[in-house]
């Protein structure tokens, strides 16, 4: 042991972010900021109809418009544009329409691209869009998901049914539990409900933008994407370009939330235009375009049955979903409900479970990943059902949960959905949350208000959630028919000065990887935090990677970084032993120095780095560098969990809903940077609360998106959201060496049911049993009126 003080470990420290300096001073590098010599600008001609045949397109007037260089239609690029990729055929017989970037014969949702104008300025391009004359023959549209499932109207003339696929999990068939029919038949109580997951729009703040430079040997694309590596591969596969001839760069990216986990028609079209014109081309969407066509999320009808004994032991759960694909299958559209399938049983010990989802086409924008992707839907359903069951049994909803959840002594626990939960402590998180919340006092206040018949009633919403994070073990993804794996790659490069470059396949867009990865490597290599530089988001720098989504960056990408750093240490040790003429076994590494055990003889990481660079005196046969790389593929998911409690006030005269108090205790395992974690939780809560109270993508019967701007799509502002009270408990994950579990989606997954359960708890005694999300004042008021007139029957 050395006598010198050990520096404070970086892991666990609330380091301020490296990312901030350029963002707070306006020196940002968002894609739309980019200007290249000779750059041309694109504007899209989009179908105003939700379903129509294209009978003729006249581009002559647009072509003649000032500044216009070219106008391309689907027919012009039909031979080269291919079909946009779907990487998740959930069943062998999955049906999907061909998905050209520019429609050739038929459009299937309003906003679908039918032509592109290429001009010298954005204004010139947009002016000319108005001059493109498209003749359409309108076709019948099917907008409602339940109606679409009946096949009375088809969303595509090329398909015989709106059904894309049916995916089933059954615990009796899988051998993970008993048969559901029997379980429900033998229950004292069966509660049956249909819940609605409204369609949401991710609404990242940076509209999507793409710049493509076709000059030189490689085609270079800058894009506001979460997935530069997957995008590069998919562009190559879709367009038949050698992968080595495409470079994709994700510069500063202004949020994603799953919404930028896509291979978009706009990216393909910008590439095709740039290649054709021989000049750099840029396309940046307007917000209205973004809301209309950037993929949407959620949009499911959940038909649920839960059975229990009269003393509140759940006997089984039956889930039958309709999932709205929209008009096409995007990159992982079809897999979103399947991701949810493993989470309906949540933290509970259900003996029997049956899940089936029917993936259905409608004439709307296609859906795909949105923060949580399948798991928020599942968590909402089960947490709502636990409250419904508690109401039916006349039991405190918390008591019902306690009776059914996995106890901390029962881990590892194999669930009825077949996952092995490695660690967790639901009792501890709940106890902490109850203390912070003041549960008993609020229940007493609720009782007082009920008895006095107060205008403003109080409700308590509970959500005890878990999620599967760290997507994902490649074998599991393979078993689910996903086309790729779930590993992540990293490189740690040591410069002659001892500075360290970390190259990560994760692709941050606000998460703070540059800071967190620096903390990981600073601790592991014993170098100062400031001496670590994190490079990402450019396929020429980071040649291997699977990008950022599914709360995977730390639990998969961060572990690859640590594994690469460990290899650096092994190489350095060989050189250190040679330099100090000692045996490797006698060396110990701490605080950035190798010391010969029991002596004062030591050599620093910087000295070794320079020795590796100069290569004057290395061991025989040793290559002169310390650089290392590693690919990490987790053996299991990680399972963050937590208890969220919401005190909700409902004004029974106006329907106004207010969050009086929000407490969440999350167990996300070991934390690298508590400041960043806190920020992720806050932002997640905001999006989950937004689903419960504010947001919905609304279409009219003709297929026009009514909530097509920020005037109508209510992204909450600062006055619309509460102060969050947050805390943590910690049970380390066993699926990675750090014990981290992931935090990106926790707040969003947990908060929606907590809020809605709270609203219903406030007015259940008045006869209201359900309110469709978002719980707007109008909906709450109508539910109250209906309960009054029908005596509480829903």
């Amino acid at each position: 042991m050395t006598a010198t003080a050990t520096p404070r470990p970086e892991v666990g420290t609330a380091r301020l972010r490296k990312e901030d300096a350029h963002l707070i001073t306006g020196r940002s590098r968002f894609t739309d900021n980019m200007v290249l010599p000779g750059m041309l600008h694109l504007a899209m001609v989009r179908s105003p109809f939700a379903h129509a045949k294209i009978t003729a397109i006249d581009v002559s007037a647009a072509q003649a418009s000032p500044g216009v260089m070219a106008v391309l239609t689907g027919a012009d690029v039909a031979a080269e544009q291919g079909s946009l990729p779907n990487a998740w055929p959930v069943t062998p017989d999955q049906k999907a329409p061909s998905h050209p970037s520019i429609a050739v014969e038929e459009v299937a949702f309003a906003g679908e691209i039918v032509a592109v104008v290429i001009a010298r300025s954005v204004a010139a391009a947009r002016d000319a869009v108005e001059l493109v004359d498209v003749d359409y023959d309108e076709l019948p549209v099917v907008m409602d998901l339940e109606e679409a499932a009946t096949d009375k109207v088809l969303a595509h003339t090329s398909l015989e049914s709106n059904k894309s696929a049916t995916w089933v999990f059954d615990s009796a068939e899988a051998g993970t539990g008993t048969a559901i029919a029997e379980a429900l038949a033998n229950s004292d109580v069966v509660v049956e409900r249909t819940l609605y997951q409204q369609r949401l729009i991710p609404a990242f703040m940076e509209p999507r933008s793409t710049v493509v430079d076709p000059t030189g040997e490689q085609i270079t694309m800058w894009s506001a994407t979460q997935i530069p590596h997957i995008l590069r591969l998919m562009l190559a596969l879709t367009l038949g370009i050698p992968e080595s001839k495409v470079r994709v760069i994700a510069p500063d990216v202004g949020g994603g939330f799953g919404g930028k986990l896509q291979v978009t028609p706009e990216e393909v079209i910008t590439l095709l235009a740039a290649r054709r014109m021989g000049k750099p081309c840029k396309f940046t969407e307007t917000r209205s375009e973004s809301l209309q066509v950037a993929h949407h999320g959620r949009a499911q009808v959940q038909r649920l049955k839960i059975g229990a004994t009269k003393d509140g032991i759940v006997t089984g759960l039956h889930v039958d979903l309709l999932a709205d694909m929209g008009a096409y299958l995007g990159l992982i559209t079809s897999g979103i409900p399947v991701l949810g399938a493993f989470m309906y049983n949540s933290i509970y010990k259900f003996p029997a479970y049956h899940f089936e989802c029917h993936n259905i086409f409608t004439n709307k924008a296609w859906t795909d990943a949105y923060r949580g992707a399948g798991r928020p839907e599942a968590t909402f359903a089960i947490e709502r059902m636990m409250d419904e069951l508690a109401g039916e049994l006349g039991m405190d909803p918390l008591e019902l949960r306690e009776k059914n959840w996995i106890k901390h002594t029962e881990f590892p626990f194999t669930t009825v959905a077949g996952l092995e939960y490695d660690t967790g402590n639901y009792e501890a998180a709940t106890e902490k949350a109850l203390g912070l919340f003041g549960y008993d006092e609020l229940r007493a206040e609720q009782q007082r208000r009920r008895e006095s018949g107060a205008t403003v009633q109080l409700g308590i919403g509970i959500s005890t959630f878990t999620e599967m994070c760290g997507l994902a073990p490649s074998r599991v993804l393979g078993a689910l028919n996903y086309a790729a794996g779930g590993w992540e790659h990293a490189q740690v490069r040591v410069l002659p000065t001892g500075n360290v470059e970390v190259v990560t396949g994760s692709s941050a867009h606000g998460q703070g990887h540059e800071t967190a990865w620096s903390q990981l490597v600073a601790d592991r290599l014993g170098v100062p935090f400031e001496n670590v530089e994190v490079l990402h988001g450019d396929t020429q720098v980071s040649q291997r990677g699977l990008d950022t989504y599914g709360s995977r960056s730390l639990t998969v990408g961060g572990m690859a970084v640590l594994a690469a750093a460990d290899k650096v240490i092994e190489k350095a040790k060989t050189i250190a032993a040679h330099m100090m003429e000692a045996s490797e076994q006698d060396l110990e590494f701490a605080n950035g120095s190798f010391t010969v055990r029991g002596t004062e003889t030591s050599t620093s990481f910087g000295e070794i780095a320079f020795a590796a660079f100069s290569a004057h005196n290395l061991p025989d046969g040793m290559e002169p560098n310390l650089d290392s790389e590693a690919t990490f593929d987790p053996a299991n998911f990680s399972y963050p969990h937590g208890t969220h409690l919401a005190a909700m006030e409902v004004d029974t005269e106006t329907g106004q809903v207010t969050v009086l108090k929000y407490v969440c205790v999350d167990d996300i395992g070991v934390v690298v940077n508590p400041m960043i974690v806190e920020g992720q939780v806050h932002g997640g809560l905001a999006q989950g609360i937004a689903q419960a109270l504010y947001e919905e993508a609304v279409y009219d019967d003709a297929g026009t998106l009514v909530s097509g701007s920020f005037v109508d799509y209510l992204v909450p502002g600062a006055p619309d959201l509460p102060h969050y009270i947050t805390a943590r408990t910690e049970t380390p994950a066993t699926s990675n060496q750090l014990g981290a579990k992931g935090v990106g989606e926790a707040g969003t997954i947990a908060s929606t049911p907590a809020i809605v359960n709270g609203v219903l708890d406030a007015i259940r005694h008045l006869g209201v049993k359900d309110i469709k999300m978002p719980c707007t004042p109008s909906r709450v008021w109508h539910a109250l009126q209906e309960a009054k007139t029908t005596g509480g029957v829903q």
Binding site: D20, S28, M205, E206, H682, H723
Partner: protein, 180 residues
């Protein structure tokens, strides 16, 4: 195309004279002609506030006025906030309080916050929230933005430890945290 009009606008302390189309928005002028790409465009309906700048010391959404309307006026953008290499107090506070994640709303948030504090130097939490109503953020859930603005109003001085000391960051601060 309509004929151009010559305008002179002082932006971040420099006077620029340009011929612009009458329909050109101020934000387009800033970004496309003057290279002031620190000011960003997040919507097309004046809802998001990403493009907020100061016009003669008052916050405006630069997507909601024409460049020609700024003729003869003084504009400050996010790029003009730091002086002599020293961050403005709000820039420092946003960094210290982790009031930004992706950073896209940040320029507008900081400009609006500066305007808010100029009008009301000691706002309550709810006055800060109301004052930022016209600026949307999708990452932070607003709590740390509110904390950053409050810390500037309260004159909080930050050290240079590189570690967050904002009370809202500390674990288990929550017991003392208030309710909105």
């Amino acid at each position: 195309m309509a004929s151009s009009i010559s305008i002179t606008v002082e932006v971040d302390g420099v006077s620029y004279t340009d011929d612009v189309e009458p329909r050109l928005l101020l934000v387009q002028h800033l970004r496309e002609r003057l290279g002031k790409t620190g000011t960003l465009i997040g919507c097309d309906t004046t809802n998001c506030g990403a493009c907020t700048v100061h016009l003669d010391g008052v916050s405006v959404k630069s997507c909601t006025m024409f460049a020609v309307q700024a003729d003869g006026h003084q504009v400050i953008t996010i790029e003009g906030m730091a002086q002599n290499g020293k961050l403005a107090p709000l820039q420092e506070a946003f960094h210290q309080c982790h009031a930004l994640q992706c950073g896209f709303c940040t320029p507008g948030m900081i400009m609006q916050s500066a305007s808010l504090l100029k009008e009301n130097p000691h706002p309550t939490e709810s006055e800060i929230r109301e004052g930022l109503e016209g600026n949307l953020c999708r990452c932070t859930g607003y709590q740390n933005i509110v904390a950053a603005v409050k810390s500037v109003a309260d004159g909080v001085q930050y050290d240079d430890s590189g570690v967050s000391v904002s009370p809202s960051m500390l674990e288990d601060n929550s017991e003392t945290a208030g309710v909105s």
